[in-house]
């Protein structure tokens, strides 16, 4: 028997909360008795599409309005559901202990009250990030811009100003940094050591952190002192390595850093060339890990670092290999939350299997349109700017990727599904709890092999072992190295073609 449901939609103008908070609010409200579905979100274009997709009828609104959309068993459930919305929204704003002193409203105002060496971490929507970052630089402080969707012209303006004052801009579009052991944004908890990382790539940095940490269990002295994420576009022609140069200068000057590693998404050739020349002139040795066709993968870079420090690289762990049967079709589907991991897998897969279509394609002719599932090998980066406008990063909000996982699994052409899962500070407290059921569901009908690269350490707040075990139990084969996971997926597809 189906019972009729009741939709309740209201707009709250003047109300605002960030997308992460609203996701938590939506989840809390969904758990309220009588609530069938709940979505509390700012009325951005992408969120309105999601709401319409859920069947809600949304009145005219602006992106500054908050939409409360509830589907309920009955009219009588409305008050309780709204009370749950209000309760979930209430504790999100810090109130400050002293009633006469309101919290600061701008970064500049906060910096007037804070320690002279304070680092600013900016994670407001991209259109407003530059203004906050500029406050920090103007106050003579370093800044990390977690926000994505920051126009490249603004990135250049920020980094030029920073360079003129000897300040460092970390990010945008690379949400990872470790500064003297403190993780900012998405960062893995690692043992301290004498390696410094400069990363024009967030998940590339995390991959390196995770591999080096794992190797450090047996290789004495292997650990990371600083990992400075300089932004995924820093080595593009437009930005020209402005922040990389400052980060290298800092690490070179740090007597506690013995070896510097530079890791990047595929850089602009002329910028890579200039960088290679400049790093050769530094006092501290530099290992370059710049992704590209014919270049080493990130795991090979980690191995080279270990060898330089006099250690033999370990076997990178793999779990759940028994789960994986033969490929169920001819095509490889990679669904990533990490852009650099997606890049790395594409480079490897296209060398072995031929063209790979993507929303972050290796060349323009391989671009995917709105339909992310086509009759080719595909790899999608769900962390790309276009898919995060007006919503949280997929490391926090897995909805879009999980939907696509179900679609890919249902496609008879899909032979293997390749996924990543990234742990660390800033990521979901229990991401496997959201991904494992989706993997299990994907494998239910056709036993599609699912290979996962799990980027994380045993010090991460989520617990590496528990996350891995949940994925293995759901039927995935789990690798610590993304390159190793990708090789495994390629091998399965090649086996099916034979």
């Amino acid at each position: 028997m189906t019972t009729p449901t009741k939709d309740h939609v209201e707009l709250r103008s003047g109300a605002y909360a960030d997308s992460v908070t609203l996701l938590q609010v939506s989840r809390a409200v969904q758990a309220t008795p009588g609530v069938v579905a709940a979505q509390v979100a700012m009325a951005t274009g992408l969120n309105l599409e999601v709401l319409e997709g859920m069947g809600f009828d949304i009145p005219g609104s602006s992106p500054n309005d908050m939409v409360v959309a509830l589907r309920l068993d009955a009219d009588a459930d409305v008050p309780a559901a709204l009370a749950a919305v209000d309760a979930a929204l209430t504790p999100t704003r810090p109130t400050g202990g002293d009633t006469t002193i309101a919290p600061p409203r701008t970064t500049g105002s906060a910096l007037r009250r804070s320690a002279p060496d304070a680092i600013t971490l900016v994670s407001v929507p991209g259109a407003s990030a530059t203004v906050e970052a500029m406050d920090a630089l103007e106050a003579g402080r370093d800044v990390m811009v977690f926000s994505d969707n920051v126009p490249v012209s603004e990135e250049v303006a920020l980094k030029r100003y920073a360079a003129s004052r000897g300040r460092l801009v970390m990010g945008p579009d690379c949400g990872t940094a470790v500064v003297d052991g403190v993780g900012l944004g998405f960062a893995n908890a690692v043992r301290p050591g004498r390696i410094g990382i400069v990363a024009a790539s967030g998940t590339g940095c995390q991959q390196l952190l995770a591999l080096l940490h794992h190797a450090g269990e047996t290789a004495e002295g292997v650990g990371v002192r600083h990992a400075l994420g300089v932004g995924g576009r820093d080595l593009s022609s437009a930005v020209g390595g402005l922040a990389t140069r400052e980060a290298l200068r800092r690490l070179d000057a740090d007597p506690d850093v013995d070896l510097v590693v530079v890791v990047s998404k595929p850089p602009a050739p002329e910028v890579a060339e200039a960088l290679t020349k400049e790093t050769g002139a530094l006092g501290t040795p530099v290992e370059l890990g710049l992704l590209g066709r014919g270049q080493r993968d990130l795991t090979a870079v980690a191995e080279a670092v270990l060898e330089r420090l006099g250690h033999t690289p370990p076997e990178w762990p793999v779990h759940g290999a028994d789960n994986t049967g033969p490929a169920t079709g001819p095509l490889l589907r990679g669904l990533f939350v990490g852009g650099t991991l997606c890049d790395e897998s594409m480079l490897m897969a296209s060398a072995a299997l031929g063209p790979v279509r993507s929303n972050i394609p290796l060349s323009d002719d391989l671009a995917l349109g709105d339909d992310l599932l086509v009759d080719d090998h595909t790899m999608v980066d769900f962390g790309d700017d276009e898919l995060t406008q007006g919503r949280a990063h997929p490391m926090i909000d897995p909805t879009l990727r999980n939907e696509q996982l179900a679609r890919a699994a249902a496609d008879p052409a899909t032979g293997v599904i390749l996924l990543d899962l990234v742990l660390g500070h800033g990521a979901e407290p229990d991401p496997a709890a959201l991904l494992a059921p989706a993997i299990a569901a994907a494998r239910r009908d056709r036993q599609v092999p699912v290979v996962v690269s799990l980027v994380g350490t045993d010090l991460d707040p989520q617990g590496l072992d528990a996350q891995r075990d949940a994925l293995v139990a759901a039927g995935a084969e789990v690798h610590l190295s993304n390159a190793s996971a990708t090789r495994r997926a390629i091998q399965l597809i090649e086996g099916a073609a034979r």
Binding site: P103, R105, E132, V179, I396
Partner: protein, 466 residues
């Protein structure tokens, strides 16, 4: 690089994550900027001229000391001729003038002998022949409320000794039925004539006869510590001015032919008018702000003014352009039987005090007036603290004892107003809507929000392309 403390702006999750690593975190209570301003804010933020331009504008403003150097008729010091009228706020034509500005212009026309009966002036202003209207601000002057200045009115003359720059303001008439609130009865005109015949000339004799020119900026420093915020409360300032001028009023006044009754009348008039010093505070503020004008790239507000119809701002980086919107009606307390329906929209150049960082911005220092303008002492402290969110500097000279001698918030930044949607807080008097009524109350008001995005867009349009 060593273990950092962290300021976070944005998702609480990242602040929690940093705090979870046992690192000190200061969280910014960020909210979206005024709608549609994101791109202009980014353009202005990354204007390479801005940081230095604002520093220069602020330093120039804070570097000014206003001295009282003369008192003289507007015809002499402003070159104002018969038929020329100055008024408060941005430019306006007769057809759009509000009741109090009309009343003041009508009274002014009668004072100058252009008409016998103020009521006859309506036809004169409607015809527009042989009369002209011009903002006080365009002649280095400021006028409280309607701010009407005519050639025969006597003006305070303030000077910045370092540059020789001067500003001007008329003499304060007192409260209630007065010209600046739009009243023009015979009692109002009689008082104005006495001010022209006795008050102005005696003050001139006193100022010219005082050895040390009165340091108006210095009096402001002291009065702020004595419970005046120098907009709605000027009691301590008025008495300090009297202390400085009264000896010379007696000695130079008698040399100039004034008898002891005149001197006594003037002392009684000034001492009995708690707002007398406002007309010195205002040009002192304008003198400081004018020094911060015309710095390319600067986002500092250099004037806020209202004509009873429009509220206008001028910004350092955009020259003499006015950005205007409809003036709001203040919230506050009313005299006698008057109520909100009787009040005209906000009027006067006196918001120059807030522009310079006193008045509503220094509310915390004036607990005695907090209730008059509708609030509690904690509200007053919070107001001053809140204004620091939208200003570029603290004025080290103007400090607030109850806030640990923190300087008053000074130099309104257009971009910070747009970022925070916090509007400047203005303490104000309320004029009656109908010409001739006079004052009906006092209270709190803010500018219309839309003028700040307009000014921001003009600043963004002037950013040189990279």
């Amino acid at each position: 690089m060593s273990q950092p403390t962290v300021v976070t702006v944005g998702a609480d999750m990242f602040a929690d994550s940093v705090a979870g690593q046992a690192v000190d975190v200061e969280r910014v209570d960020w909210r979206p900027p005024m709608p549609g301003t994101e791109a202009d804010l980014a353009a202005v933020a990354t204007d390479p001229r801005r940081p230095d331009a604002n520093r220069r504008a602020v330093e120039a403003m804070l570097g000014v000391t206003a001295h009282l150097v003369d008192v003289a008729p507007a015809s002499e010091v402003l070159g104002l001729e018969k038929g020329q009228f100055l008024h408060a706020g941005p430019p306006i034509e007769w057809a759009r003038t509000s009741g109090p500005l009309r009343g003041a212009l009508m009274g002014g026309a009668a004072l100058e002998g252009l008409v016998d009966d103020p009521e006859d002036a309506v036809a004169l202003f409607e015809s527009g022949s042989s009369v002209s209207l011009e903002p006080c601000h365009h002649r280095s002057a400021v006028g409280p409320m309607a701010g009407v200045v005519t050639p025969s009115m006597w003006m305070w003359v303030l000077e910045d000794r370092a540059t020789g720059r001067r500003t001007y303001c008329s003499l304060n008439e007192g409260l209630g039925k007065v010209l600046r609130y739009g009243a023009y009865s015979s009692e109002v005109l009689t008082r104005l004539r006495w001010m022209g015949d006795v008050l102005g000339p005696l003050l001139q004799a006193a100022v010219r006869g005082t050895e040390e020119a009165t340091d108006v900026t210095g009096i402001l420093t002291q009065m702020l510590q004595m419970g005046d915020e120098a907009h709605n409360r000027n009691r301590a300032g008025t008495l300090m001015l009297l202390r400085d001028l009264s000896p010379a009023m007696v000695s130079s006044g008698s040399d100039a032919g004034f008898d002891s009754k005149d001197v006594a009348d003037v002392l009684r008039f000034v001492g009995g008018n708690d707002h007398f010093f406002l007309n010195l505070a205002m040009p002192a503020c304008k003198l400081a702000l004018d020094a911060g004008r015309d710095v390319p790239g600067s986002t500092m507000v250099v004037a806020m003014a209202r004509n009873g119809t429009d509220f206008g701002v001028q910004v350092s980086g955009t020259g003499d352009e006015w950005f205007t919107g409809p003036a709001q009606v203040a919230e506050g307390l009313f005299l006698g039987d008057y109520g909100p329906d009787d009040a005209n929209a906000d009027i006067g150049d006196s918001a120059i005090t807030e522009t310079a960082g006193i008045g509503g911005f220094a509310m915390a220092t004036a607990p005695a007036i907090v209730r008059l303008v509708g609030g509690t002492v904690p509200d007053a402290l919070a107001t001053t603290r809140r204004m620091h969110e939208i200003t570029l500097a603290e004025n080290p000279r103007w400090s607030v004892p109850v806030l640990e001698f923190m300087g008053t918030p000074t130099g309104i930044d257009v971009s910070k107003v747009c970022r925070t949607a916090i509007l400047p807080q203005i303490n104000t008097g309320m004029a009656g809507k109908v010409a001739g009524v006079g004052q009906v109350g006092a209270g709190l008001v803010t500018p219309p929000a839309e003028i700040f995005p307009k000014a921001l867009a003009a600043l963004a349009a002037r950013v040189p392309s990279a």
